[in-house]
Symmetry: C2
Subunit: 287 residues, 2 copies
């Protein structure tokens, strides 16, 4: 059997997996994200037990994704200071297999497109709402990068919070991430999201932010389907509210047949948390 | 010489041209946009004098751009009621050359990429600010369509107008087009934009809207260059203000080397109004 390695590289943990080219996972583990010097040896040890033919990585950024650049796989300015200038390519020290890198959200997006709710579609966006907010875009059969990669979780949202909450993004307060991420919910209401589950106003507001953002992503990307993942999206009652808010903000301007079937248009991830690691496996197998 | 036809199809006029595959225009004219039954014969008559090998069209939308669809080239729901369900393909009644269609802004974008300020680049966005606002996106060497095509002029903008102006978009008031198009300026201040040229506050506000929108497009598309065209962008003093506002709203979050050279990063169109028709010629010659 041909086997591949996959890394879902996050700021607090790295999920590692070995699997085949149909995303059947043979072995998986998690390692805590510390400094590269501490973390990378654990990763190399895990993969050394297998005869893998390539590694796919869905990584936090900013990161250079231009395969023609000498900096391909190198992390840029990030608040995770130990990882500034770290290179995923150099970390594996010229292995005899390809190392393929994309953003965490693009990996999750291609995971859902290949094995989850986006199967058979050419235009899908994947939005994660958790510790941060990010968007992976699959457009006309390709993952969208642009020059570097989108940072569409940082679009600005019109808000009018009568309680004075202005958002917590250190760069632009009232961006989507600054208003609606898990830490933003905690800052807004003074409690962790898990302790606010019964407070309907919190989730109406959260759905309002997400609906406003989705309306804009529909304008910018023209997707056939919108898939939502990340910790905050475990709150299932958000989905009907988000669908209603999205339609309300769009107000009929774009009205495709997909948007007439909102339960399928805006949907939870099908891979239930494995979209990132399975997407990274797919990136490895595609080479 | 191999010749091609091009149409820049707008709501008030159609620009027609015949040219070669280097966008040298041999003959050009304009016809008023009336009903299809009145307008199309004029167009066919213009092209009938030439032995053309294909036609490229940059058209107002919404329009089906999926080449595999039977509806390719068909206009959807538009306030221009005479044109609802009109098909550009059927209009030319099976000619023996290809008819290639894209949005007006995508045609202008590929015009600038091929012959103007975007030459040599792979990731460019073109924004027109005029009667309406639209965005053409060229990403990793391809025009972006998604399922249908973006309508990124309709992203919502956070605003706080102390004079009570809320925007004029009939669908969502405070979208970019509803706040910053030519007709929005007129509605906001009660005078046509041309009569407001000396009023600095008007243009500070306009640059503020445009800067806010560009910040979001950078987050969504990660462009190497942003090219601005359309009637409102003839007000040259807007450019330095827009550059400053864009940087201010981005606040250092994305800080590429391109963004350290703002005079080149955010720039007027190089083809001085011919970007749409030359882009349509290019689409025809590319087939």
């Amino acid at each position: 059997m041909i086997m591949f390695g996959a890394i879902e590289a996050g700021g607090t943990k790295m999920v590692l997996a070995v699997g085949d080219n149909s995303a059947n996972i043979i072995k998986t583990t998690e390692v805590e994200t510390r400094t590269p010097d501490e973390t990378i040896p654990d990763i190399i040890k895990f993969f050394s037990e297998f005869d893998i033919e390539g590694i796919g990585i869905g990584a936090f950024g900013p990161i250079c994704l231009d395969r023609s650049s000498v900096n391909y796989g190198r992390i840029g300015k990030t608040p995770k200071l130990d990882w500034v200038d770290f290179s995923w390519i150099e970390a594996f020290d010229n292995p005899d297999y390809p190392v393929v890198i994309d953003t965490d959200v693009n990996a999750a997006c291609i995971g859902e497109v290949t094995y989850g709710k986006g199967r058979g579609l050419k235009n899908v966006i994947y939005i994660t709402v958790g510790t941060g907010i990010g968007v992976g875009v699959y457009s006309e059969g390709n993952l969208l990068h642009g020059m570097q990669h989108p940072e569409a979780g940082h679009i600005l949202l019109p808000v009018n919070n009568d309680d004075g909450f202005e958002g917590i993004c250190p760069y632009h307060k009232n961006c989507f991430e600054g208003l609606a991420s898990g830490p933003a919910i905690q800052a807004h209401y003074g409690k962790k999201a898990q302790l606010l589950l019964d407070e309907d106003e919190v989730w109406q507001k959260e759905a309002d932010y997400i609906g406003k953002a989705i309306m804009q992503y529909i304008c910018c990307y023209s997707p056939e389907k919108i898939i939502l993942g990340g910790g905050v999206m475990h709150v299932e009652k958000l989905f009907p509210m988000i669908r209603e808010k999205t339609l309300s903000y769009m107000n009929g301007y774009i009205d495709t047949k997909q948007m007439q079937d909102m339960d399928n248009y805006i949907t939870p991830a099908g891979l239930k948390g494995e979209q990132g690691i399975k997407g990274a496996l797919y990136l490895a197998s595609r080479g």
